[in-house]
């Protein structure tokens, strides 16, 4: 087995979102007020589940098909919307591939609606052929890929300061240990709504924001002719230097 990251420095606040986001009222009542305690990193922080596919079905990499990204087989009806192909590499802070790691992918349908009871009041239509979520596994190079339909924008519900969420894809990543757990969102290049999204723009460093925006893949580099391609590398925390406290 490869040597895995056992050093984790605290996140650099400039490259990560602020805890409190103006106009996003849930950040006011759910964020702790009393500060965070520093602790040393021990084995429990530098280990994590590596065999999650025993419990979580990781073979759901076509979200564009009816009922659950391939759950009903290859002949499931196609969801409405622009077919997209998303690929990239999962790396640690040394640039080494994070292998065999589950990536969970979920997003709104092409009209901007989620399959979730929290979205029951959405003004947008459901798509009976869009299940809204899938999972894939990174390979030996740390590469992942999935097919889906491009999500629509949707307005943030019930907020005093309303704004449109630009099209985005939610990602939940396990990495190689407890400290590399990452939940993030991927955005689309050039979308005019990106500039006004309070969530994307809560990251102070412009380079940090760029790390959440995918790049277009030229059509001739795509494995098939019916998809619009987006490349998105993801870096999770962890490096392999001498172990140190966090």
């Amino acid at each position: 087995m490869d040597k895995l990251p056992n050093r984790f420095a605290p996140y650099d606040d400039r490259t990560q979102p602020a805890f409190k986001v103006e106009g996003y009222k849930e950040t006011i009542t759910r964020v702790p007020m009393q500060g965070f305690y520093k602790r040393p990193a021990t084995l429990t922080e530098v280990t994590g589940p590596l065999n999650l596919a025993r419990k979580l079905d990781a073979d759901l990499s076509d979200l564009s098909r009816a009922k659950g990204g391939g759950r009903d087989g290859k002949d499931g009806a196609r969801a409405m919307g622009q077919l997209i192909f998303v690929t990239g590499r999962l790396l640690d802070e040394d640039g080494s591939p994070v292998r065999n790691s589950i990536i969970e992918v979920w997003h709104a349908n092409s009209a901007g609606r989620y399959i979730h009871k929290m979205d029951a009041g959405s003004p947008f239509p459901e798509d009976p052929n869009f299940f809204g979520s899938g999972r894939c596994l990174t390979d030996h190079e740390g590469r992942y890929q999935y097919i889906s339909i491009k999500p629509g924008a949707y307005p943030v519900p019930n907020h005093p300061q309303r704004w449109w969420r630009p099209p985005h894809i939610h990602l939940s990543i396990f990495g190689s240990g407890f400290m590399s757990r990452l939940v993030t969102q991927m955005f689309f290049p050039g979308d005019p709504l990106n500039a006004q999204d309070r969530i994307l723009n809560s990251v102070p460093d412009p380079k940090g924001r760029e790390r959440m925006i995918s790049r277009p893949i030229p059509m001739m580099e795509l494995p098939r002719a019916d998809v619009v391609g987006f490349a998105h590398d993801i870096v999770v925390r962890g490096s392999r230097a001498t172990p140190m406290g966090i």
Binding site: L4, P17, F19, P32, T42, L43, G48, G95, R211, R237
Partner: protein, 206 residues
């Protein structure tokens, strides 16, 4: 520091798919969600941990995503960073996940983790469970650690003692309790998680 910068974290939002949860995701004593899967269970003392998640003003918080990560009953991890990983229980994954219910209730079935002498620091870790909380309004996850009552090793645990105030430390010690939903053969503990307030749960820098 490595040469690559971690991708920014982002809120899990309110729409984390309900169908991501398998029936055994919050039962760490089994390693599969498949019906009729092997009935082999993790070794150790079966325990049930439950409580309520609150946001500010003691308002119960539903739809929070809670994850557990812990050592097996003998204090080993099935992970190459553990020099004794070959001794880890093959029927224990150490990971579980759960969304809090409408009234803020969450619960897990697991085994009591063992303590261990930490190979990175040489320090002795008391039995503990690492807990992550994600949800709408949390741009980054929150992390804390649960400890067990009447555990002499707590006094020397470096993470427990990273919290200087004994009153605050008390808030992450599991409390013996009874729950109607608990399995009959499990030892039961309660721990409420207060995201914000006077009696806020202590969270660690992530």
């Amino acid at each position: 520091m490595g040469k690559f910068v971690p991708t920014p974290s982002c809120t899990v939002g309110p729409f984390f798919p309900a169908h991501y949860f398998g029936p055994n995701d919050n039962d760490l004593t089994v390693t599969s969600n498949a019906a009729g899967a092997s009935s082999k269970r993790a070794q150790g003392t079966k325990i049930y941990i439950a409580g309520t998640i609150y946001e500010a003003d003691r308002v119960p918080r539903w739809n929070s995503i809670v994850e557990f990560w812990q050592a097996d009953a003998s204090g080993h991890f099935a992970h190459p960073n553990d020099p004794e990983s070959s001794k880890a229980d093959p029927d224990f994954m150490g990971w579980g996940r759960r969304a809090s219910e409408d009234d803020g209730y969450y619960d897990f079935i697991t085994v009591k983790p063992g303590g261990y002498k930490d190979p990175l620091t040489g320090l002795v870790r008391a039995p503990h469970i690492n807990v992550s909380i994600m949800g709408s309004g949390l741009m980054r996850r929150l992390v804390t650690t649960f400890f067990f009552p009447d555990e002499p090793a707590n006094a020397g645990d470096p993470v427990f003692n990273a919290i200087p105030d004994a009153k605050v430390r008390e808030r992450i010690i599991l409390k013996p309790a009874k729950f109607p939903r608990a399995p009959a053969d499990a030892l039961c503990y309660r721990l409420d998680i207060v995201l914000q307030g006077e009696d806020e749960t202590p969270f660690f820098l992530d």
